[in-house]
Structures are given as C-alpha cells and as structure tokens.
Symmetry: C2
C-alpha cells in the first residue's frame, strides 16, 4: 500500500480547493469523540450543538476541553459558556446521531425544540442535559485560551456525572461500547466501534497481556 | 437505563481512589484518536510514542495539536519537538497496535529498536515516520501553550502528507476504515470502527440524507 501512495507537500495542501482541503485536513487526526454540548443563555434560552473537538485535559482535578472555531461570527455555545459558566457534555448513540448532526443547522429556536431531543435538569448545573443520552457530564468553566488561528480552547471542570452503573469496571474504566457511544471522522461521518483489546501496562522486555 | 444511573458530584469524584479516578475521567470524552508520534533529538536519537491526544486545530493553514501531560518529568517527545521543531503523526492499524502500545514502556533505547517498528525518512522532515503506518503526516512546530493544570498543548503545521490514493474521496474526505485506522478509549483500550453513515450538511426543515 505504501508504494503507490500519494505524497502532498505543504505547498500542495495550500493550493487545494478550499472545501477539499477542509474535508481532508479534518480527517487527519483520526477518529474523534463526538458529543452534544448543552448550554443556556442568561435569558434562559437553551442551546444544543454537536462537537467533535472534546478532549481529556486532566483527571486531578477532572478537566475537559472543547476547541471552538474562531469567535468571528456568533457562536451561541461559546457565548453561553462564557456568560453562565456552565455546560453539559452528552454522549451520542446510534439512536440519536441524526438528531445530533441536525443540531448544526442554523435554527432560530432552541435545537431541543427543533430536533426533538429532551432537555433534562438536575438542579446542580443550570445548563440542560440531553435526556436521551446515556452518559452525561456537567462542567463549570475554568479557563479560555485563544490559539494562533483564533480557535478558542475552553477548559471546564467536571462537577456532575451521570452514568449507568454496570458499565464502570472495578478499576474505573468505562465500557463505552456497552452504551453504544459512537465516534466520528471528518466533518460528517459517524461510526460504531468494536473492541480489539484492552492492553496491560507496558514494561520493557515484558509481553503485553489483555485485560478482561 | 437512565433510571438506575449512578450520579457522582464533584466531591464524589475528588474522593475517588486515584487510579480509579484516572481511568474513569480518561473515558469521559468518548472515543479518541490514537497515533504514533515520531521525533528525533539534536543528537539524532529517534523516539516513538503512542498518543491519544491529537486534535484537529484548523484546515487553513493546516494545523494539528497534541496535548502533553505536565513537563515535570523528562518527556522525550515534547523535548525533541521543542529542540528540532519537527514531528510525525502516524495512524495505527490492528497489525501494529500492540507495538504502538508497547512504545509507552520506559526504554533506554529507541522505541523503534525495541518494538520492531521501522523508521522511514523522506528528506522533507528530519523526524522519522513509521513505515508500517498507512497514513503519515509530517509537521513543523508552531506554538506551545501551557494550560491551567500544566499540561502542554503543542500546535504544528502540516508540511507533508503520505496517504494511499484510493481512500481519498472526490470532496477530500478520507475513508479511514479502508486503511483500518483504529480508535481508543481510556488509557489502554483499542477499537476498530464500522460505518453508521456520512450525513449531508444540515439545514432547518430539510431531512438529512446519507452521502455515499
């Protein structure tokens, strides 16, 4: 497969048609997480939006990040997080992935109303969760970083977590396949997963074993 | 499934046993990309390390990021990127995922020698690629950001890309399943993927269609 490969230089990429390059470059990092972010404005308007740029930032304290595109146009999710300082991250399964994708349309009303997903409130966090999601995380805004291309990295601290009990293993590992959490590639493709293996902690000169 | 869910508060998470919390929180973002990062030191020593924290930062210019744990202990990959300013990102498939995982062991020699993966040089970038990988990206260091928990975000610009030709679709989308790129969850679990659908650009009041 290597022998017949296409080879692009930086100049080749620069010269690509804009939409071709956007699709291509968005695929390079590999499979991505995909989540629904729920927020609420100061005027109590809810917003729900699908994001493929949620990352793990740290476990102690428990921090997660979202990378937003430049704030050069209105971005309701980002604006709501900055004004109310809370947001929710909700895993997506095959039963709701089309509704999740549809939240990206430019609606004049809340994406909850337009997609039929159900807002859920716990009292702990004022932002809405997605009732149909099986794993729901409530976060409080901590820091904002503006990167070199004007993308905005928001870091939040986990303040609430709702999760089905049977999928947490003895050592804390969560079996995401048991709740059918999906993954995505590029800007618009969605995938389910199948387990290859969970591997033991690697040490020099010691063969790996599979964790059951 | 929702009715019987476990509910954790921030305080509950704070009180968790350290390794339990680390495993649990690392799973929260969902499925992650997993890649081999190749670097070289100023003394021409190669390094290869598996990372689940590679993200898409932008398409124009083509930027990708890696989030590193705090630089409080030696981190060869990070140090090599800062001194030689180049690195490679190499996709992982089931044929090399155990070797990829094994690169995390604390070797005294290059992870290429100890895992049997083959360094490959193109002349464009001094950092080594992984010959066994089907999708290989060469990048030049652009910026470093230190986040609130001392994790380090490195952003690089894509300067070279090698990719099998038949997996690039007409609009630039890359069919990662055709080269069996894998995904991971938590700290040590690996997964293959299966396509659900590629969905059309969402517009209000217009049903989604599937892109073939």
């Amino acid at each position: 497969m290597n022998e017949s490969s296409i080879h692009y230089t930086g100049k080749d990429i620069e010269g690509m048609e804009k939409f071709f390059r956007r699709n291509l470059i968005n695929c390079l990092s590999g499979f991505k997480s995909v989540n629904l972010i729920g927020t609420i404005s100061e005027n109590r308007e809810t917003n729900l939006s699908v994001f493929s740029q949620v990352i793990h930032v740290g476990a102690t304290p428990p921090l997660m990040g979202i990378l937003f595109r430049p704030h050069s146009v209105p971005r309701h999710t980002l604006e709501n997080i900055l004004s109310t300082e809370v947001f929710t991250i909700n895993h997506i399964h095959p039963g709701i992935f089309k509704q999740a994708h549809q939240t990206s349309a430019r609606y004049q009303v809340s994406e909850f109303d337009s997609t039929g997903l159900t807002p859920l409130y716990t009292g702990q966090i004022s932002a809405p969760y997605v009732k149909e999601s099986f794993l729901r995380i409530g976060l409080r805004f901590q820091e904002k970083y503006i990167l070199m291309n004007d993308t905005v990295l928001i870091v939040g601290k986990v303040e609430e977590l709702t999760i089905p009990p049977k999928i947490i293993q003895e050592d804390g590992f969560i079996d995401l396949e048991a709740i059918k959490t999906i993954t995505c590639s590029g800007l618009d493709k969605y995938h389910t997963t199948s387990s290859l293996a969970r591997l033991s902690y690697p040490k020099p000169a010691k063969p790996l074993s599979e964790i059951q």
